[in-house]
């Protein structure tokens, strides 16, 4: 699992491999609203049919959909969040979505909150989305940090700079999960102005945050970022190894995962995806000028495509064993600070 995979999983199609429900979703129109509502009331495939009703239902069905926002089932609440983003009734949808985004009642609540933020983005981007953007801006002063993060993400995605700035601020929050989500959001937004904030996360105490920072920098950087990213992942792998040793000595895995994000992401695969992403972007003009000069020629080597296996480049350069042979210094220390190198390069 990589940060990009995690984002893709959150956007998974609820009708994938579900032909009958998918066909209904594809073919139904507003004339089927009543039939859909009846089936939902009966409890049959409630989440899927709620989404379809959101897509095709007349605006007045927003009230019907909203009735399920406190359903005992997380899948139903998630479907309500999706449906309210589809139906054309902002007056009813907006407060219900804010309620779902801010909900903190259960451990399985995050997918519901995420979906609510997605729907708020959809509404905020519409021509009549001013009300939604105002509500999202209000969320930035909520007490719960994850509510603020998801609100900031939605505001930023709707094009409001206040959301972007808040996300950058949240990359230094005390809660690792907040830092992770803020970093992920900045990467998804490809926030070039967040470079420095993201670069600092390469040294985060949480491996999960480091991985999301690698992903985010891959999204905004170009091929010149490669050396920085490799060095950062090399350091993270050494850190991961140290945490694994603590696990083997008897420290609870759940605690290590919660505190340090151990096992959340595949660091090597994250690096490879980030390199692929950054490699697709042309060097910025200033870098091209430096590259043409003698001082820049060494860095050009990073642009040459690898001839090895797809993961070969990342693995060969980041294993602590190899690093030890190359530099004669212990792996983790040899990096010399990913942040300092980052600052030199950028």
């Amino acid at each position: 699992m990589t940060p990009a995979d995690r984002l893709a999983a959150r956007a998974a199609d609820p009708f994938c491999a579900r032909g009958v429900l998918g066909a209904i979703h594809e073919l139904a129109d507003s004339t089927h609203s009543n039939a859909l509502a009846n089936l939902i009331t009966a409890g049959t495939f409630r989440p899927e049919l709620l989404i379809t009703l959101g897509k095709v239902g007349l605006p007045r069905y927003a009230n019907f959909i909203g009735r399920y926002k406190d359903d005992a089932g997380a899948e139903v609440r998630q479907a309500v969040a999706t449906a309210l983003g589809l139906i054309d009734n902002v007056t009813v949808a907006l407060p219900a979505l804010v309620h779902l985004l801010a909900a903190r009642t259960a451990a399985d609540e995050f997918p519901v909150r995420w979906e609510a933020s997605e729907s708020l983005i959809r509404i905020a981007k519409r021509k009549d989305g001013d009300g939604a953007r105002r509500r999202l801006a209000e969320l930035l002063s909520e007490r719960d940090a994850m509510t603020v993060t998801l609100g900031a993400r939605a505001l930023a995605a709707a094009g409001d700079a206040r959301g972007v700035q808040k996300l950058r601020d949240l990359t230094t929050h005390a809660d690792a999960r907040v830092r992770e989500e803020a970093t992920l959001a900045l990467g998804a937004l490809a926030d070039v102005g967040g470079r420095e904030a993201l670069g600092r996360r390469l040294q985060d105490v949480s491996l999960a945050v480091r991985a999301t920072a690698v992903y985010a920098l891959g999204r905004i950087g170009d091929a010149s970022m490669a050396a920085t990213l490799r060095a950062a992942v090399q350091q993270a792998l050494a850190y991961e190894q140290a945490l694994e040793q603590r696990k083997q000595r008897g420290e609870p895995e759940a605690a290590l995962r919660a505190q340090y994000g151990l096992g959340d992401y595949d660091l090597r695969e994250t690096l490879q995806q980030a390199l692929d992403d950054a490699g697709r972007r042309p060097l910025r003009a200033s870098r091209r000028r430096r590259a043409r000069s003698g001082a820049g020629r060494a860095r050009l080597a990073d642009r040459r495509p690898s001839r090895g296996p797809r993961w070969g480049m990342g693995v060969a350069l980041v294993t602590p064993r190899n690093e030890h042979r190359r530099t004669g210094e212990p792996g983790a220390a040899a990096v010399g600070g990913a942040v300092n190198q980052f600052r030199e390069n950028h």
């Binding site: 032909g19 009958v20 209904i24 129109d29 089927h32």
Partner: protein, 123 residues
């Protein structure tokens, strides 16, 4: 352009149009016969035969007037020697591909009936 030459061009054009229509009609007849055969397979109790037919029927949108009623009947009332839920799934996918809006009510009835509609066989 002289009259005989213009007349010649028009004649050639008319012949070309006639040929195209004849070829088209021939192709459509061929497709109709293929769809007819697929519908017969669809009505078989043999899952493999019926499933393959449902998947192939998507490829003939021009013959949807023929295939949609058969697909609707399949999901509404048929059972197969195995994997009936997968069969209904395939038929529903075919209906969606053929943009059969008149299939929505039968599909909703199917959901209401409680018959299995989710994959039950390994692929």
């Amino acid at each position: 352009m002289s009259r005989p030459t213009r007349f010649g061009c028009l004649t050639l054009l008319a012949i070309a149009v006639a040929l195209t229509l004849t070829v088209d009609a021939g192709a459509q007849e061929g497709d109709a016969a293929r769809v007819g055969a697929l519908i017969q397979d669809l009505q078989s109790r043999d899952f493999d035969r019926a499933h393959a037919a449902a998947e192939r029927l998507r490829e003939f949108p021009a013959q949807r007037a023929q295939s949609v009623p058969a697909l609707v009947q399949a999901i509404a009332s048929r059972e197969w020697d195995r994997c009936s839920a997968d069969m209904r799934d395939a038929a529903a996918l075919a209906l969606a591909a053929l943009k059969a809006k008149d299939a929505v009510v039968p599909l909703l009835d199917l959901v209401k009936s409680g018959k299995p509609i989710e994959h039950e066989c390994f692929e």
